[in-house]
Structure formats: C-alpha cells, structure tokens
C-alpha cells in the first residue's frame, strides 16, 4: 500500500476495506435522493450555481444571457483575422459540404452525406488535430439505446428529459431516443464490436439517471471503437480530410448566409478559402477553457472555436449557463488529474466512499446530482486530501471483482487499469481517488430536428449544439447524440445539395459587423478569438517571448 498511496492515506484505505463486505450487501437504492431535494443540493454545491462565476454577454444574438465567464471572454473578443488581410476571391476548395471538426459528429455526417448521394470529393472534413483526435474517441462508458425487453425508446425519452431538468428540446430528444437502436444496428453493420454475453447477445449496462439497462459498450473503449471504425470508413470512401487545419472564421454571403469558411494551416500558417453550399459545424465542446479552474477530461483542442465562429455569424446559442462536471475524474496521482473515470464502474457496482469508509450516495444519480453530492461530502470534511491540496472521494473499485468475479475489472476496464498501472496502483486491490471534473458542454448552438441553426447554410451536430440534453446530459447520450445528429446533418446537407442554392460572393461582413458591435460596447481590443489551442507553456517562456519573422 505504501507504494500505491502516501502513507498518511493508509488508515482511510483500511476503513474502506473494513466496510466493504457490509456495503456489498446493502441495497443502495435506499440512498437515492428524493427528486424534491435535488434543487437545494444543486443550488448549494453544483458549480453552475456559483453566480459570481458567471457574466452577462454584452453583444450578439444572446445579448443579456448569463454564461460562464470563460465563455463570455471568448464571445466578447475580436476576430483573430482582419478582413483586409485576406483575399476571398481566390477559392481553394469548392465543395457541396464543408464539415468543420473531425470528431464523431463530423465523421458520421460525412458518411451519411455520401450515402445520400454527394460524391466523396465534394465533401471536405477539416480538423485542427488529426482526424478522430476528439472527445468522441475518449468516451469510455457506452452508448444508450433502448433495446432491452423491459425498456422502450419512450422510457429513454423520459429519463433524458428528467435528467435534463425538462429543459431539453422535445423534438430533438424524440429523434435521439427513437433512432438510437438504428444507430447501434448501423454500427454493427459497419463492424463495430460491442460487448456480447456468452450467447452472443449484445449486453446492456446501467448508467446514472437511467431507469433501465441501456448502455451498449465496447469494454471502456466505446468511443475509440466507434471512432476508428467510422474513420476507417471515411478513408475507404476516399472522403478528403484536411488535418491540422482549423477553421478560424466562417464566411458569409452579402445576405448573411454561411457559404464556407476560412481555414488556417497550423504548420505553414497560410490561409485557405472554402466555398461550400452547406457548412456543418461539429467542433465539439469547451473543456480546455477550464471553466472555474476545473481540470478536464477533454482533448487538447476542445476550445469552443465553433461556438465563437457561429455566434459571430448570427447563430443563436442556448443553455450556455449549464456545464457538465463528471462526478468521477481522477484526483490522484497528479499526473492524471481530471482524466475520466467512467461511470460504467459505478454501473457495475463501484461505490463512492468517504474517508471514513462510508458510502453516502446512490452511485447512479444523474451526473449533476452525483457531482454535487461528492463536492458536498468534501466540503463537509469527509474527503481525502491529496499531497497537492486537491480533495478526493474513494471510488471502491475492488468491488467490481468482488461482485462479478476475478478478472472482471480487467475485462471491463482495460483503459482504466492501464492508466493506474503506470503509477503503481492496482484498482482491483485498492480504491482510487476521484473528484468531479469538467466534462461536457450541455448547451450550444440551437438547432432544429434537421440540425439547422438560426443562420442560413449552417448546420451543427454533436457537443457544439444545444437542446438535446437540456441542463444536464445523461451518460451514454453523447456518443448517441453525435451519431444521431451527425447522421441527420449529413442527410440534410445532401438534401440541400439537390436544391438550387446560390452561394455567390463570400465575405467577412458578419465579422466586421460583430467588430463594430464590440467597439460600441467598449470592449477591450486586445482580446482575440477563436483560441484554437489552450496555453500551457511555462511562465518563464511566455515572459520572454519575442516573435520575429524568420
């Protein structure tokens, strides 16, 4: 034990071990918090309710709305590119569909646009990192689809609406839940390997806030398995992908419709102009903004670029006051701080336990409730403090093998086992320390059932969009979201390809107008966005930077 954890934690670990067999026998549904108590818990302990961390946006379509300060700072910033710096008459790429973002949503959209008849060469995926290096690929737990006998798509609808505090957009939730089984079948036909039981039947697992077993998993590599299969399919079809080429601004027609984007080569720093009949934004979320200083589960490029670009082009956002903190991010050791510890561990019987060895919460509450309850326990002084001052709650992982037999943890959670093995911790022997971590952008660009934003020519799918999850997303609904709405975006783009849409001249007029609005509001001119990548360089370097042309 001395090697796995600092010696001062030994007493607490012994208490966790001592209470294990008793906790194992206990029916934890008795700990389930009555729905009427959720509000007061969230109010007091959920980070979304710390009003001083929020601010009103002073410009744009959502002027007056309250959002996290970090988002407001990006929306209230000037375009990085000045219109006079670029020549938009020279078109580098002329396509039917431009897909900005190479994660799950964009990749699924590309496949369905081609499936619906758009020639592969008339589709273009652009992405700031490599194709597939996205939150989609990091999803561990699974994808919800109501396939079990005792389940139904309508039950899935009810769980999703309740989890989202009934603030979700009903037509989107219907699409999400009704099309979920079809998505699983589509994956199967593409060759995605989901977990099967000994008879070859697909297994379903429980998730937080869900009233039935509904999660379809591929070990704890569900997102990776889905992503690498759909990416492989894009490569087989020859759909063009530009990697390390983020979009830095959308381009609009004199009528205000989106007609493409301005791209930037991360290696050579030159720009490219894309002309597109339809532009799909699938740029994902904002984890790397580290809202309220939280560590994050998100990939390196999750900097809300899509939100910023769309907002300048007039797209309305929604539910931007709502942020998802995953209840269980790694709290120890420091090297893995904030990384995702999948909810599936609690789905298979893992229990959050305080430093006294007591289980204090139903392990499968909706995420916001579970996270708030863990924060409360730490604030009540029952968390385990790490050597670097971060609090943690024990997640009693040895329970998995105790319940399901030796080897069960290794089979179900190979990625978690690997993560800890590097730091000499065996989660089948010792519990692991967790604390809520910044995980998901619940809101985003408002879309309708066809993924259309409020700006002509601009569609959005996946985490960048809002409305599907209301004020809180359930486990297994994000991978489902990018599949259902990525597909719908691809189909919608193919339908638009049939219409006689004239894009005409491309401009940065919207950026000029937005700049004028910022100036009128008296906003500091030194702030620029989109961010593209977060800043993690050491202070000593940043203090001594000189930017010379070479």
């Amino acid at each position: 034990m001395a090697e796995a954890y600092p010696s001062y934690m030994s007493d607490s670990i012994r208490k966790v071990e001592a209470s294990r067999s008793q906790r194992l026998q206990r029916d934890l549904t008795e700990l389930k918090m009555p729905e009427e108590e959720h509000d007061s818990l969230l109010n007091r302990y959920h980070p979304d309710y710390r009003t001083e961390q929020f601010a009103e946006v002073r410009v744009g379509p959502n002027k007056g709305d309250v959002m996290p300060r970090e988002i407001v700072k990006l929306l209230e910033a000037y375009p990085t590119v000045r219109p006079e710096e670029v020549n938009l008459d020279e078109i580098d790429y002329d396509v039917e569909v431009l897909i900005i973002g190479g994660g799950g949503g964009g990749t699924v959209a590309a496949l369905w646009a081609v499936e619906q008849g758009i020639p592969p060469e008339k589709v273009l995926i652009v992405t700031k990192l490599r194709h597939g290096d996205a939150n989609s690929l990091m999803a561990q737990g699974g994808t919800q689809a109501a396939t079990a006998e005792e389940d139904s798509p309508v039950q899935h609808y009810l769980d999703t609406m309740g989890g989202g505090h009934f603030e979700n957009k009903p037509e989107l939730v219907k699409a999400l839940t009704e099309e979920a089984p079809m998505i699983i079948e589509w994956h199967r036909e593409l060759g995605v390997m989901y977990d099967r039981d000994e008879n070859g039947n697909m297994m379903v697992f429980p998730g937080g806030g869900s009233s039935r077993k509904r999660l379809h998993c591929a070990e704890d590599y569900t997102g990776m398995e889905q992503m690498r299969v759909i990416r492989d399919q894009v490569r087989n079809l020859g759909i063009p992908v530009l990697e390390f080429t983020p979009a830095i601004e959308l381009l609009t027609t004199p009528e205000g419709a989106v007609g493409g984007a301005l791209l930037w080569n991360l290696d050579t720093h030159q720009y490219y102009v894309v002309w597109a009949k339809t532009t799909i934004l699938s740029t994902g979320g904002f984890g790397r903004l580290h809202i309220q200083g939280f560590p994050t589960t998100n990939h390196y490029g999750a900097t809300a670029d899509g939100l910023v670009m769309a907002y300048r082009a007039g797209a309305k956002l929604r539910d931007m006051d709502s942020v998802q903190y995953h209840p269980t991010g790694a709290a120890y050791p420091q090297q893995i701080l904030g990384l995702l510890i999948t909810e599936k561990i609690r789905g298979l019987g893992g229990q959050p336990v305080n430093k006294e060895g007591e289980v204090f919460v139903f392990p499968l509450e909706p995420r916001d409730v579970e996270a708030a309850r863990l924060i409360k326990e730490c604030e009540d002084g029952k968390g385990m403090e790490t050597p670097y001052g971060v609090q943690g709650i024990w997640l009693d992982t040895p329970l998995i093998d105790a319940i399901h037999g030796e080897g069960a943890f290794a089979r179900a959670f190979p990625s978690i086992a690997r993560l800890y093995k590097r730091h000499d911790i065996d989660p089948t022997e010792f519990p692991i320390l967790v604390y809520p971590t910044l995980h998901y952008q619940n809101g985003g660009i408002e879309i309708n059932g066809n993924t259309e934003s409020s700006t002509q020519g601009l569609l959005a799918a996946g985490e960048v969009s809002g409305g599907v999850h209301g004020k809180n997303r359930l486990m297994g609904n994000s991978t489902l979201d990018y599949n259902v709405f990525g597909r719908r975006a691809g189909i919608q783009a193919a339908e638009r390809a049939q219409e006689s849409i004239e894009v005409g001249e491309l401009t940065l007029d919207h950026a000029r107008r937005y700049t004028a609005d910022l100036e009128q509001a008296g906003i500091d001119k030194s702030k620029k966005s989109p961010l593209i990548l977060p800043e993690y360089r050491g202070k000593r370097t940043l203090n001594r930077l000189l930017d010379f042309p070479l």
Binding site: E35, L137, K213, N236
Partner: protein, 233 residues
C-alpha cells in the same frame, strides 16, 4: 504549474537533443510545455486514447531505444526524446459490404499479404505502449483465427509504433482494424433483441406513447419521471 525550482526535484530532459531542466513527475507532454514548447503536432486527446503522441526515447547511459505515449509517460532524468507525430504506413481501401467479404483470414491475407513476412522478432510487442500481443495477433491470421486477431488488438490506439519497428514492413495497426471490422460485421451474429426493437419502431409501436408523453405538460412529465420504476437488476 509551480515554477519555483528550489522547492522541487528537477530532472534533465533532452528535446531533439536540446537540454531542459524540468520538474520530476511531469509527463513528457507537460514537461515539454514547461520547457516552453507550444505543441501542435504529436499531441491529441492527452488521455491515452488517440495515439497521436508516440514518442521514442533513450535514457543516457542505456543502449535501448524505447517508446511510449508523451501524454502518459513520466519524464526520467537524462531522457532524450523525439516525438513521432505521424506514421507513414499503407492502409488498404476496401468495401466492407462487398459480397466476398467474410470473417476469414484469407481476406486479411489478400489485402495484407506481408503478414506472412513476420519473423517473430517480438519488436512490435516490446514497443507497444498498450502492451498488446501484436505478434501473436499477426500469427493468429496465419493460423486462420480472425477473432483472436480482433480481440488481441482490441485495445489498439493505432499509434503506429509497431509498424515503425517491424523488419517485415507489416502495418499491424491497419491490419487489426480490418480484422475487427470483419469480426464485428461477419463473425458476430445480428442481435435478436435489437432486430425485434427495430421492427417495433418501424411498425410504429411507440408512436402513440411518444404523442402522449410529448403532449404532457411539464408538471405531468415531472410526475411521470419522479414515479418511474427503476429496473436495473
């Protein structure tokens, strides 16, 4: 990040042979950033899933060339590193729905005949940051066992280090991708419950229930939610 060097133990990291003093305990990626690098290549998910940050290293005084993921591996004193942000390797294009496709090793060999060039040198296994049995997975193809290949390579993050090290020029990570898709599509059978549920949805079995629940007012919906039965056993 704490930059007060007096308070912490420091180690030497050599990035493309330029030495930097960095705090012990940082991952290679964090250490590079501490040293002042703005990472645009050789970086991706930063959680060990995407395979973008394969990094080759050697420790001063040792002869072995090792490799790992820069986002996961903690720096060691005297570590010389070079990141491999891209692996040139040939992926074959194929139509997974083509009539002759099946969960058969012959398909894999027809697309990737170089599998037969494996000399069992074990280098792929030694370099794999996921510690997979890559060599056994390739040999399973020669033994006609596609499922074994698919399962042995299920946790592959496609960083490409195996193929960079392979004297037989075998693109193991691409081959494994085809093996998994063949097994997932043709090896496993359709799921009976899923097929049944799809039929029910197509037949409109849930249409009425959707109409009811979507027509319900917020309080009514809240009551349905609060009183719903949990069936998780």
């Amino acid at each position: 990040m704490n930059e007060n060097e007096q308070d912490q133990q420091m180690v030497w990291l050599f990035v493309l042979d330029r030495p930097y003093k960095v705090p012990a305990g940082l991952t290679i990626q964090d250490a590079m950033e501490y040293a002042g690098y703005k990472l645009t290549r050789g970086v991706g998910c930063r959680g060990g899933f995407c395979g973008a940050c394969a990094t080759v290293y050697r420790i001063e005084g040792q002869y072995q060339l090792k490799a790992d993921l820069a986002c996961q591996k903690v720096v060691e004193d005297g570590m010389h590193i070079v990141t491999i942000p891209f692996t040139p390797a040939n992926k074959k294009q194929y139509d997974i729905d083509a009539p002759d496709m099946k969960a058969d090793a012959g398909i894999l060999l027809s697309y990737y005949p170089m599998v037969a060039r494996c000399v069992s040198c074990n280098r792929c296994n030694n370099i794999c940051p996921q510690e997979l049995e890559v060599m056994e997975a390739m040999n399973a193809i020669l033994q006609g066992d596609v499922e074994r290949t698919a399962r042995l390579m299920f946790d592959c993050i496609q960083c490409g280090l195996c193929s960079m090290r392979c004297p037989g020029e075998i693109p193991q990570f691409h081959i494994a991708q085809l093996a998994r898709r063949l097994w997932g599509k043709y090896g496993e059978s359709p799921d009976q419950m899923l097929t049944k549920r799809l039929g029910e949805i197509t037949a409109g079995k849930f249409d009425e229930e959707y109409d009811t629940i979507m027509g319900a007012g917020r309080e009514e919906l809240q009551a349905m939610y609060d009183t719903r039965e949990l069936k998780l056993a």
